[in-house]
Amino acid sequence: MIPTSWYLVVSVLMLACGLIGLLVRRNFITVLMSVELILNAANLNFVAFARQLGDLTGQVFPVFVITIAAAEAAIGLGIIVQLARMKGTVALDTVREMRG
């Protein structure tokens, strides 16, 4: 039997990876990938606790999370395409138009 804490450890480490990637990567596309990692870690937690509690609701919410992740990826990648068209690069430190 696999303890629930094993799932939580994997989830935490994945979330930490996503967090670090979100903060330090310079490429916009890899930053979006880090966000996907964070959402996946959240899903893993949902499923682990559904298993712990024997409650199926924890397997329904990841469906919503996956939907939101797909929407976020579509919009984010649309922004990236526009950014590449305007500036010819997707490096985040070259984008400073909205800095006051």
């Binding site: 039997m1 696999i2 303890p3 629930t4 804490s5 799932y7 939580l8 450890v9 994997v10 935490v12 480490l13 994945m14 979330l15 930490a16 990876c17 996503g18 967090l19 670090i20 903060l23 330090v24 990567r25 310079r26 596309i29 890899t30 979006l32 990938m33 880090s34 996907e36 990692l37 996946n40 899903n43 893993l44 499923v47 559904a50 298993r51 024997g54 409650d55 199926l56 609701t57 397997q59 329904v60 469906v63 919503f64 996956i66 939907t67 939101i68 797909a70 990826a73 579509a74 919009i75 990648l77 649309g78 990236i80 395409v81 526009q82 590449a84 305007m86 690069t89 997707v90 430190d93």
Partner: protein, 183 residues
Amino acid sequence: MDFLVAHFAQVVFLFLATVCLAGAAGVVALRQPVHAALSLLASFLGVAGLFVLAHGEFLAAVQVLVYAGGVMVLFLFVIMFVNVRTAGKEAQYLRPLVPLAVLGGLLFAALALAAVWALSQRPVGDPSAFVSVAGEHLGNTEAVGWILYRDYLLPFEVVSVLLLVAMVGAIVLGRKPKEGEAA
């Protein structure tokens, strides 16, 4: 050998967890966006395997179809489209943030691991709840659908509107601006 047979689930779990975490680390560390995307794909597939181990067969299928199939293809398309093959020396990290981010990530992980440590070893729930509808044994997909359409119908509809909005937004963002129109 006896150990492997006796602890088969644990061995599979550790393998999948290694795939997940190696993929996640690759997303942060690899230089080329294409390599990072393929690393992310490995991570997604590992998570799908972990879902199967936790009696989430339907979610594992959704994970493979939507993430590994849809989102990954979208990422790879955009990587090819904007063609950001990194030159040898170009910086891949926002330098001033690296130590802070690593410190923050590790602190968060330590805190969360401490919380996990504090979690007592409670018995795992009855897995038959994941495959039965109103006491009748049907399957994981039917059971998830039952909850989704009976208890969470309104959020389901709201999410479908969200998807529509995202689709329209992506189309508007992705098209070429007309002559004389600001992008």
